[in-house]
Structure formats: C-alpha cells, structure tokens
Symmetry: C2
Subunit: 151 residues, 2 copies
C-alpha cells in the first residue's frame, strides 16, 4: 500500500499529498480512527485500495466519504470501477445514506468520468483549489450520490 | 471558549458536533495542529471565537478554511461580522489565496447571509447532509471566496 501511495502522489496530479508525504501520514490516512480500508488484489499482490470514513462527525455522520488509489502500473483495467462498486455496497451496508467526494481534481478526467458512470453528480466546484504539477491552479469538484438505490 | 462551544452545539442547528462532544474534542478542534485561533472580547470577556486552518494539505494548502462561533447570548450584534472581516485580513496576511467553508447549514440563514455580504458565493450544495434537530435532513452549502481583493 505504501508503494502504491508513493506512486500515486508522485504524479502531483490527482491527490493533495506531496511526493514527500511521510510514511506515518499515509498510514494515518489509511488506518486512522473511524477509517475502514480495503485492498484489491490479483495473483501478484495488491493493485489498489480504498477507504470509507464518515465525512463529518455526529450530525453529519450519515454521509460517507471514500478515497481510492490504483497502482499506476495497473490503471485502465477496471480496478477502480470494481473498487467503486464494492465501496458503494459496503457503505450502504454500513448504514450510510449518501457518499461524498470532497476533492476530485477536475483535470483527472478518468476519475470524473468513472464516478459519473457510478451515479455521482458534481454538486460543487472549488475554483483553483488544486495546485497541479503541470497545469498550475485547477478546479476541484465535490461529487455526491445517495445510496438508497445501491443493491 | 468551552462555555460558548457547548452553548452553540447544544442547539444542534448549525454545527455537526453533538451536544455530548467531549471537551478534549473541542480543544483539539480549536487548538489542533496547523490551527490558528482568535477570540473576540468585550469588557465582560470572550463573546466569540474563530479559527483559520489550511483546508487541505500540500497541493491544496493555498485555500484556507475558517470556523466561527458566537456566544448565542450575544448574537445579532455584529460580533460574527467583525470576526469575519478580521479573519479575511488575517488569512490574506498568512498568504492564503482563497477561503472555503465546507459545511454551512442551509437553514442557518443568518450565517449564509453574512458570508454573502462578505463576498462568499455558494459553490456547492450537499443534499440532506446535515441532521437538523427540528427539521431533519437539510442541505449544507460549500461557500468560497478568493482573497485577492481583501485589504
């Protein structure tokens, strides 16, 4: 997981984490309090991971937040989509009523398209909120979906 | 500050914190890592407080997040507005390029109106994301403003 985390944040194009993020910060992100984490495996080992966490505490705890990372060497083979589907079912089972992504980088077209096909809508646009390695300040999206239709 | 925090969260109408939030959670909220906190005082003592924190780490750290609480017994007298103006100036001085509120309860009309007069726009709507004591699930807004025009 640390290997995949480092490979993903090294791109500086999809997550706010800097390439120099300490290992303990990554571990806290994936295994902190109230975090439930999952990995996707094939014969060769871990190819991706995701986590579910309440997006807010107490009076906002009925909305889940989730984060996904796929090994960049294994991208484009449906791992993200499989994890997304699994995540929606798990979140529903855990009792969440909705799921929110707080910060989808607008130029990460593969992610935006994937979440739309999985039923998410863009409910907010954060102007120039992400400092992209190649493109400078670009927008980030807030994406949201209720879970009542997840089977 | 603990007294004001308890009075504000007791209403269950503006913040996600439950009325049973432990004192240590409130202290972590106001004095945690990377948090800068301020209080508003009159002759009688503290009447309100606010904090500034980076809304995201690293590649999102140019956007500030802020939170405000006013003693409910002292509401409607401009304390929030004074703190808001002070906050914008402080955030600009600290080098932030924009400020984001992640979770303004849509039925908190006084807050929504105040932030609009201080230059914020609603950039996102989180459907039914807040469990309001009297109204059930209501929307929350994401509000945003650049700081380049703050003097």
């Amino acid at each position: 997981m640390w290997r995949i985390f480092r490979a993903v944040v090294a791109t500086e194009t999809t997550y706010v984490f800097s390439p120099e993020t300490p290992r303990e910060d990554a571990l806290a992100y994936w295994f902190g309090p109230s975090v439930t984490s999952y990995v996707a495996e094939d014969e060769g080992g871990i190819v991706g991971m995701y986590k579910i966490v309440p997006n807010q505490r107490d009076l906002g705890s009925h909305v889940a937040n989730a984060s996904f990372m796929v090994d960049p060497a294994r991208g484009g083979r449906g791992v993200g989509r499989e994890m997304g589907l699994h995540c929606l079912r798990e979140a529903r089972k855990m009792g969440f009523l909705a799921m929110q992504f707080n910060f989808v980088v607008s130029t990460n077209e593969a992610a935006v398209a994937l979440w739309k096909t999985l039923g998410f809508s863009i409910v907010g646009t954060l102007p120039k909120a992400f400092r992209h390695r190649d493109l400078g300040h670009v927008d980030a999206y807030v994406m949201y979906r209720f879970l009542d239709d997840v089977e």
